[in-house]
Subunit: 429 residues, 2 copies
């Protein structure tokens, strides 16, 4: 039996034992993890330095990007954030064993819908080693077992953090073993994706190509988003004074984030009022503008190119710009080329706002606010598993709740269905 | 472009238009469908007779089972149930546009989590033509578009019902076209399963092999259950007087239902008290008993065989029977061989009941009540989409809510993230 299958099987068994973890045990475990990371900072930094040495060679050869190198690098700030992140999750409400709904079905028959963990969660991530402590903490708090598969470029850092976490957990007698697992090899991913008997949910954290590959190669449900192609539509009733700062924020505040804007649609009726200021402001902020034939002709000096693919996530300071005839064209463009992530209308007209927010089929539909607000922390979830463009289970920024499902608990006193079909007993209305 | 892709694409477009259907329009549509089925009963029965003639030949040749033939056959009772089913769905609460949760994130920034339809639902079903009216009604009420793929053995009946439904809907001006679609050919299934660009959820209604085939052949989320291997565990603290009627009900009341019991586990400590009466009662109810070596030896005359596969759904009056040492062995047997559907403990000991209901990883965990209660109608949902053994999205009996997801609506007044990272503005705690 493959090592990964063996790990998955043990994780499944551990996930059953995890059902009995009290909130106190879980929070104690999180504090122990935070303390252990703090105490063993130097060990993590040393391991990270070894990974960085290798990565530097890859960077020089052009085999990894500077941003991948940056994500790999841990410093005091990132370690502090890792530790604080784990502590923060300890302060959140326990999402497990909550009675979501309850009903007496008939005399003596009580039905409860109770939240419970999903079971075993497989997390496949690239570069960022800080994911390990974050996902481990989320899994513990939600009583799930987790199998982490990190990138080979971070193997030494990942191993160091993993060993520190499991060693801290092993000192808690009541804490079930095998809840947190780490696997290494790229070959293991395929085995993991086939292990639908043991793994209940896959969460990919990384590039679009990673997410797409995973979705195409597993029967296991996948929680993730493949693209973040966010739009802002400037309606004919938009307030230009609000529009410019929102678009600059949505594009420039953190261009590589999935919730940054990629395409701005401008209503023809407001075009001449908004475009001169918008284009000027974008240029001042070093944003490269791609547009349509019409705008390119009119602002030839300021427009880089005519957009050939409206379904493109730039992830940097580049913006697609298009003139649309009306709100209907804007909605239809977004539903056609968007990725169902986050899309915004700028308008002072409530009916248009309502229309946009009803007909745009995205996880986040916004009015007069930057798309950058699409984030579990900003939504007040206290932690974020990721942002989902799924249309089942969990959509949009996903908090701890996304790692839970429910079971039905039904209690009777010797009750049989036959008594209800014969009419001897009746269900309550 | 394939015809099915064309239909899926139109269904996707229709699903956007469906977002504006008011509750009144949806309920009017349901009543019009119910009336149209009632008026055109004879047409449906005639079409059904043609399908039955063909099916009779297949039955004689042994190519279909008697029970498949029975499921295909529509009579006055089934038609009455179909009509009433559609009317009942009209009486349910509209599951769409409900504010699930709302929060002011900061001064002037309001976040709403609002229920919305999933989009396009593909339903693949066998035999039973009454599924068409039921699923169409559920889709309309939840503002989803639907693509129905029926079995070829029911093609004439399905077409008749589908034409009656779409003709009734075409008379409602405000009702979007292309919300209800029917496809025929077996070859279409593969194209449908590949159409993840247009179809958001697949619901299989039929045999285990159909469900397994679908799960293995699509990237689209699947809502369904592959098996219904339900257990009843007779604890050492069980009340034998309650146990016997519950087991007889769970096995005999409707043996082919997925919520009927397949395996009874008996605690060794109560074995001698319960087995003689249980075995006698099962025999009186014509239930064939398969068991383990120990029971077979002791009750050789009454036991049919030693069970070779504990992971088996009989679907008829056959029962697996096993002696276990303790509740832990019962729980572990169920988690190993069960299908995560519905499992029950019979006990008067509350701690054991709690333990069982916590550690058995099934959608329904029951105490002192027949497993046959696992049903959307009995749970008071008013309608049932199916029973799910998924551990994401929807689990257990699924009502209308299972056809919904949510979107986040965020309203601001020119707000940007940068003001919050610089500390100029603060989120509410």
């Amino acid at each position: 039996m493959s090592n990964v299958i063996e790990i998955a099987k043990k994780a499944k068994e551990a996930s059953i034992l995890a059902l009995q973890m009290s909130t106190k045990i879980k929070n104690d475990a999180l504090h122990k993890i935070a303390d252990a990371i703090n105490i063993n900072k130097n060990e993590i930094i040393s391991a990270n330095n070894l990974d960085l040495e290798n990565a530097k060679l890859l960077l020089e050869k052009g085999e990894i990007t500077q941003s991948a190198y940056n994500r790999l690098k841990l410093d005091e700030n990132k370690l502090r954030d890792m530790i604080q992140g784990v502590k923060d999750i300890a302060t959140l409400d326990d999402p497990i064993n909550k009675i979501i709904w309850e009903k007496d079905l008939a005399q003596g028959i009580n039905l409860k819908k109770v939240s419970c963990p999903i079971g075993v969660i497989g997390v496949i991530f690239e570069a960022r080693p800080d994911v390990i402590s974050q996902i481990s903490a989320l899994a513990i708090k939600s009583s799930n077992a987790v199998i982490l598969k990190g990138g080979s470029e971070a193997e030494k850092t990942n191993t160091a953090i993993f060993n520190i976490i499991t060693s801290a957990l092993s000192k808690i007698d009541e804490f079930p073993k095998d809840i947190i697992n780490l696997i290494y090899s790229r070959d293991d991913v395929k085995i993991m994706l086939d292990a639908d008997k043991y793994i209940d949910l896959i969460i990919p954290r990384g590039s679009n190509s990673l997410v797409s590959f995973i979705k195409s190669n597993t029967k296991i449900p996948v929680l993730g988003h493949a693209d973040g192609i966010c739009h802002i539509y400037i309606d004919e009733f938009a307030d230009v004074n609000k529009a410019i700062p929102i678009i600059i924020d949505a594009k420039c505040q953190y261009p590589s984030a999935c919730n940054s804007v990629e395409t701005v649609l401008v209503n023809r009726k407001i075009k001449d009022k908004v475009l001169p200021v918008l284009i000027k402001s974008l240029k001042e902020n070093s944003v490269v503008i791609n547009s349509d034939e019409e705008v390119k002709k009119e602002y030839s000096d300021d427009i880089n190119a005519v957009v050939s693919d409206w379904h493109k996530e730039y992830g940097e300071k580049i913006l697609s710009l298009k003139v649309v005839e009306n709100i209907e064209e804007a909605i239809s463009h977004i539903n056609k080329f968007g990725s169902g992530h986050t899309d915004c209308i700028l308008t002072e007209n409530d009916l248009n706002a309502e229309k946009f927010m009803m007909f745009v089929d995205s996880s986040g539909v916004y009015k007069n606010i930057s798309t950058r607000f699409a984030d579990g922390f900003r939504y007040g979830f206290g932690a974020e598993v990721g942002i989902s463009t799924n249309k089942t289970h969990a959509r949009g920024p996903v908090g701890l709740e996304g790692l839970t499902i429910y079971k039905y608990k039904l209690s009777g006193n010797g009750d049989i269905v036959n008594d209800f079909t014969t009419g001897l007993k009746q269900f309550y209305k």
